[in-house]
């Protein structure tokens, strides 16, 4: 690791990894059913949808943006897939068109966010409404059952490993590779770190930003297909609120909303951590109505702890520079 450039990477996700480990140890002691193969597998399958989307969202946030329309993209893609599959019966066609649509919707978000300099929160709030509206229009707000063939994406397994878990691992590896090894990865961190400097260095800001949002759209599309395959059909409330779970996972994973740095792996672990909390509460027979509250408290504690450590760091920096100044001028 010494010669590797990713010091940032080592630091960012360590906290969530430790927290996850502690939570696992606690739950293993508290509930004997927790540490079973079946339960672990179910946790990972449940986490896969959030985790895959969190990978895409991490790109967007590292680049200094945010996208709250990904839940709507997921819904729209699922609708496109279901309608197309029912209409044509062609699985590859429906799959291909859905993924391409995801790419396009993400790219539109990125283009709007960078081109018109409107806060991405507002831009994607608008596209959120548009995409969801388009999907409702497309499906007439009907529930559409999905044929068995696509169930493979959600319930099938390959070499004994459930397909959603495989896809999650695949997306994570690709995600880590892109950010670590490619020019795009570095440019994205640069743009998120300082857009003015990126401008001065004439980096392709537009291309890089659009690509990040595009990856966000693509991961949302993939996650949507897994989700409807697992559920066995399309419902019109699918994906509502999902963007916030995804953002929570990314933040828990150690990525800063201010952009410039972050961790793909952290986001994936963050997604798993959130499922573990649900799973643990379930194991401990807690009322299902407290889940949201607990999740919210965990997120709040995480950001406050993070903020406090930041404040301490910057105080030290100011103190040091002040001491230096006195030392040299008096």
């Amino acid at each position: 690791m010494k010669l590797n450039n990713y010091k940032f990477f080592e630091q960012n996700w360590s906290a969530i990894a430790v927290a996850t480990l502690v939570l696992c140890v606690f739950l293993t002691i508290a509930s004997p059913a927790f540490m079973s193969f079946a339960n672990m597998q179910s946790v990972l399958v449940q986490a896969s949808v959030t985790a895959i989307m969190a990978v895409g969202m991490t790109y967007i946030i590292i680049g200094g943006g945010i996208d709250i329309s990904i839940g709507a993209i997921l819904f729209f893609i699922s609708s496109v897939f279901a309608e197309l599959f029912v209409a044509t019966g062609s699985y590859p066609l429906a799959l291909g068109v859905s993924l391409i649509t995801g790419v396009l919707l993400g790219a539109v978000n990125g283009f709007l966010a960078i081109k018109f300099k409107v806060t991405p929160l507002i831009t994607t709030l608008a596209t959120y409404t548009i995409y969801r509206g388009m999907a409702i229009h497309l499906t007439g707000a009907q529930n559409i059952p999905v044929p068995r063939e696509i169930g493979y994406l959600g319930n099938g397994s390959f070499l004994g490993i459930p397909v959603p878990i495989l896809l999650m691992v695949l997306v994570t590896i690709l995600g880590v590779y892109l950010i670590q090894k490619t020019r795009f990865g570095l440019y994205l961190r640069a743009v998120g770190s300082s857009e003015e400097s990126a401008h001065e260095s004439s980096l392709p800001i537009m291309r890089v930003t659009v690509l990040a949002y595009l990856i966000g759209g693509l991961t949302a599309a993939l996650a949507g297909l897994i989700l409807i395959a697992r559920v066995g059909g399309l419902q019109s409330d699918i994906g509502i609120g999902l963007e916030f779970t995804v953002i929570a996972a990314v933040i828990l994973g150690g990525t800063k909303l201010s952009g410039g740095s972050g961790s793909i792996l952290g986001s994936v672990i963050g997604a798993i951590f959130l499922v573990l909390i649900d799973n643990g509460l379930n194991m401990l027979n807690a009322s299902p109505y407290v889940y949201d509250t607990v999740r919210g408290i965990v997120l709040l504690v995480a950001v406050i702890v993070d903020r406090l450590s930041e404040v301490r760091k910057s105080r030290e920096l100011i103190k040091n520079s002040a001491m230096k100044m006195r030392g040299t001028t008096s």
Partner: protein
């Protein structure tokens, strides 16, 4: 001196106009490999515009440019081996040093960046400059000095012919500055020509071979520094006849209105001063000397330790609301950002601070009729030229906006008035009117502190001028002893030469 060598850059009568208004005129010089040219002038003399033309950010309106003997329509920057280090760093804070150094020319392919090579190149570059910085550290974790060095390392990585350095030492400590100078000497030996912009005359004389002096956008002198003594160069920069001031100032009272004792923060150290009622105290200094920070601390915007007394009553630690109650007002340097409600009318902008004064004048009932009248009177008083007091303040010229802002605070009948750059971006006519107001105001018994980078302004309106440099008060001048050249050289010498004691 340059037998057979040809200049790496030569410019002839370079000029720049913005919408018809000439801001830089007739800059002419030749720069040979390994030479350091100092670009000097007061704030607003046109150094930045000239620099921007020389590094390719601006296209000159007139003039010729020759890069290595070839005439070019404009400077391209890195492609011609020219690179600049600006005052604002252009680094990526959350990337590592190595990533920052190599980002413009990454080794390896787009899909497989060669990080080993990146690190090797970065290590090599830093070793060449003789600095020890962890190439895997994030830039934001480095101090200002090291960041500056990384910036220079980055710029010189891509520019092998000309390096432009804009005020590179302002945020550096003395050892860091020495490090920077040794790097400059090294680059000089390698044949890199440099254009060095600095306020600090001793730095200019220590480092540069020749100079170009600008004043009010015009080149007023050029030559070899060894032929021009420092005093002469400073006089060239200041230029104006230093003599009779425009105002015949009244005598302030003996009563101290505001005094501070050993006020310190991380931007300034142990500053003491006192202002009497009716006195105008000017605070001179370069940008970054800590003047704005000092007055903001007095007004309670920034935290500081030390004592502040108003009418001999201790008021520290200061807070804005406490200061306002004590009759202190502060008119900010950046009126667009911190002062104006830019979408609102002249009326609302004028009355924002003094509404309670206007309302008190109402005879009965609610309503703002008192406000209209008072603002109309105030606008007339301040000589604000506006179509109506209901017009949006955005439509007004900078000078009129400033008058509205001043009027707003003066309407609150303050006892102590702090003005930070009161005529920034204001045309000459309005400037004179504002000066008249300031003097008239002090005459009524208000203690006034004026912070300004425009020395002539301070010379015109102040009873007394204090000079601030890198967070310290380094000199004080009574009106009868005003000496522009002395003040400038005191504000601009980077090492503490014989600094005068500050009387408090």
């Amino acid at each position: 001196m340059h037998k057979g060598a040809r200049p790496v850059l030569s410019v002839n009568q370079l000029s720049k106009a913005f919408s018809g208004k000439t801001v830089v005129k007739d800059v002419t010089f030749e720069l040979y490999p390994g030479e350091i040219l100092a670009l000097v002038g007061e704030n607003g003399a046109g150094k930045s515009t000239t620099k921007n033309m020389l590094c390719g950010l601006l296209t000159p309106t007139l003039g010729q440019i020759f890069v290595e003997g070839e005439e070019v329509p404009e400077i391209q920057g890195v492609e011609q081996g020219i690179s600049a280090v600006h005052q604002e760093l252009s680094l990526f804070p959350s990337l590592t040093v190595a990533e920052n150094l190599c980002i413009n020319d990454l080794p390896g392919s787009a899909l497989n960046v060669d990080w080993h090579e990146t690190q090797r190149l970065a290590t090599e570059q830093l070793a060449f400059l003789g600095v020890e910085i962890d190439i895997l550290a994030n830039v934001e974790s480095l101090g200002a000095g090291k960041q500056q060095i990384v910036e220079i390392a980055k710029a010189s990585m891509h520019a092998n012919k000309i390096l432009i350095l804009d005020e590179p030492t302002t945020s550096l400590t003395v050892p860091e500055r020495e490090k920077l100078f040794s790097i400059m000497r090294m680059l000089k030996e390698r044949g890199v020509a440099m254009i060095f912009i600095s306020h600090f005359m001793d730095e200019v004389y220590a480092m540069a071979d020749k100079f170009v002096a600008l004043r009010d956008g015009t080149q007023v002198g050029t030559g070899y520094l060894k032929d021009v003594p420092r005093r002469e160069l400073e006089a060239l920069m200041v230029g104006r006849a230093i003599g009779e001031s425009a105002f015949d100032l009244h005598k302030p009272s003996e009563k101290i209105a505001l005094s501070i004792n050993n006020l310190s923060s991380h931007r300034f150290d142990k500053v003491s001063l006192a202002v009497a009622s009716g006195e105008i105290l000017g605070i001179a200094g370069l940008m970054g000397a800590g003047r704005t920070e000092l007055v903001e601390s007095i007004f309670g915007i920034r935290a500081a330790s030390g004592d502040i007394y108003i009418d001999n009553e201790q008021v520290s630690p200061a807070s804005v609301s406490k200061m306002k109650k004590k009759g202190v007002v502060y008119v900010t340097e950046d009126r667009r950002k911190n002062g104006m409600f830019s979408g609102r009318s002249v009326k609302e902008n004028s009355s924002a601070a003094g509404l309670s004064y206007f309302v008190k004048q109402l005879v009965k009932g609610l309503g703002f009729s008192g406000e209209r009248e008072a603002v109309a009177r105030l606008s007339q008083d301040m000589n604000v030229s506006t179509p109506s007091i209901d017009a949006s303040v955005r439509q007004l010229s900078g000078g009129n906006q400033q008058k509205v802002l001043l009027g707003r605070w003066l309407a609150t009948k303050p006892k102590i008035c702090i003005l930070d750059e009161p005529t920034k971006g204001v045309d000459i006519g309005a400037k004179f009117e504002i000066h008249k107001k300031i003097v008239a105001f002090a005459k009524q018994g208000v203690a006034v502190i004026v912070v300004s980078s425009d020395l002539q302004e301070l010379l015109d309106v102040s009873h007394r001028i204090m000079v601030m440099r890198t967070g310290h008060m380094v000199g004080e001048f009574e009106r009868e002893n005003f000496d522009a050249v002395k003040i400038i050289s005191l504000a601009a010498s980077s090492v503490h030469e014989q600094s005068q004691q500050v009387a408090s």
